[in-house]
Amino acid sequence: MLLHSTRATYPAWYQAALDLDFQLHIRVDGLRISSFFYERRKEAWAIGPTIIEADLRDTPLMDACAAEVLKQVRTFKASSLGVILHIADEFTTAELKPALDNPAALPDLRETAVRKPANILGDSSIPPEQNSWRVLPYPAQGSGVIGTTITITRKYAPFLTAFRQAGESSNFPIITHALSAPLVAIMGLAQSAQFEPGKSSVAILQYPWFSVLAFFNEHADLLLIRTLQHRHLRQAPNLRQALTTTYASLELIEPDLFILPLSLDLDPSLNCYLSNAFPLSRVAMVTYSTPEVIPTWCPEPVIAATSPSKDELAPSLTFSTFRSEKWALQDFLPSDRALIEVYPSRAEMLLLWGLRLARMSLYTLTVLMLAWVVFGIVDIFCSDAWAFDPNQANVIKGRLGNLTNQYQKNEHWDNLLADRSKAWTSMELLSRLFPEHCGVLVKNFVHTVRPESAPGQTKIGFIKEWRITGLARDEAVDRLNTLNTQDGIAALFGEIARVTANPAFNPTVRTRSLAINVRTQENSGFKPLPVEETFDTDESTYPFNFDLTITQRFEATDPLSLNVSKSP
């Protein structure tokens, strides 16, 4: 619907014809057909297309006429067209049911007249499919009835339908409106007739085939409308009698008479005739002021299309309600309700339009979100992790396990095979403790290594002990005393570590401790001899015995501590 129709974009589809910017007013009075274009914004009138009687009645000609009108309208660059048909060739009234005498029910009666006219009409014999009724109220107090109905035949309905169909087929908004020309003319009396306050009046609307008599009370409110058919004469034959009887029934006393000639070729003597017939009444000819292109006898298009200025106050309630409540502007030939309901309403078209925007936004949002999802998926596909074969994780895990096992095995053996205790380094220690000819005779050397007990530990420390006993001469005592200090033994161990490259002798490691204990005693077998008579292996030439013990303790946290576990 949105794609194939302009109903969503052109609000004119849902406006009244009289509210559109470009209007075509056609007036049919039975003798001639007048048409005028009206540009509402410019308030400009122009002569309309030529329409003949056959155009109104012959269906093929109706379509051609509508097409031609549409073609002309497009030259004005109009976006819509309101076709207002002023029906001035017929006007009859039908009385309401006498029971309907409640003025407050007029709005409901107005609706019922459109939908089910038989419910409100006093005469139910008139076929509703051939006629159209509209309620017209009588606002004047004391009129006896609350209003009447105006009856128009549906003979011009096909003509208006042709215009609407032309608009539908060309997707151009054409809205039609059928007005009763006499009602419009009566509404226009407010601006054209000089109502004298306190004086009742009668408006005589002369049309070619009939005259309409509108009776007003002293407040210029409508009391009654009557129609007098001309019966092929130039004026109603029973006008005087009709006026007289109506005066009597309405109790009007010498009312003013307003004569409105609303066609050409009317009887010009009516003014004289009425002046003579009712010498005490003021008889006045009423003419409308119209634009140049519109004749004065054809005022209905101007009255219907334009609104009076605020300065032109309505002289009575009748004229103000006729215009404000559009009693005189009722459409007698509207579109069939079933056809109207084929198309969505304005609100529905706006809803369609709004939902289309919402849908586009929704689709855009969806596309964006899907694009975001797709980009995310592409990003996932492009990641290194996505292409990764999970089996490789197990493979490398197994490989790492094997390597770790191998490494732990290597570390284990590296620990076990460390230079922890060696015989040759202990011999180097002994030789550097007591170099040759230092005045010491070593009697016994014992070196032991024992582990420290540490249940539950992964590593254990150990204790290395050197015990040396021997004899010493005087010159060796100082050396023994020097060794018997922390610095002295540490210096010696440091020297051994350096020359043997054996890390076990390194005294600077904090996780190991070094202790020395030297006990010196006099040699009971000592025999003092001159130096030249002594030799190194003679124990009696040594005045002292000594007992030297070195203890080196390695803690469990030492780099050389021992693994408790078995090789993995």
Binding site: L370, A423, S426, H447
Partner: protein, 181 residues
Amino acid sequence: MNLYRQSIAMFGIVLPALGCVLFIALGFTLKSQMLDSLSNKQTLFESFKRNRTKALEIETKITLHRPQISHWAVLLAEESSSAVNTHLRAIAETLPPKEFQKTAFERNNTKAGIGSATAQPSSQLRIVFRGTFRTMQRAFLELETCMPQLQLQEFRIDPNPNPQIPSTLLNFQVNYTAWEN
């Protein structure tokens, strides 16, 4: 009037919205599943990279120490006592016979000393020598360098017990804990 409002709302927004929601939900579900899968793979991948780096590091270390480890493997493959004797014979050929004499050799398969403190299999070797100080030191240097699995347990050096017969030869007794494979 407004006969089509419900239809317009249904076909104009409700069904398209449901379709869009369905598409979006499908997309999000697919992505969510892929993200879950990616997360698992990411975890495995990170683990793989971590393990690979560790493996490379360990492999580098193992490669660096491979000659040493291979040498150890050869050493440990041989039974310790026979290996010691083999080495001692080889050492004896390079040293003066009078300055290096093996006088006793005992092997004990029971654990003792350092060996008793660990779960690693070990054996005890007791060897007695007679020789000069420096020659024996050279011999020990050779033996202990060739056989790092020997951990000195006890070491005694005693002079010749007979002072009437002065000699440069000393008695050496060593107890080794020999690690076994």
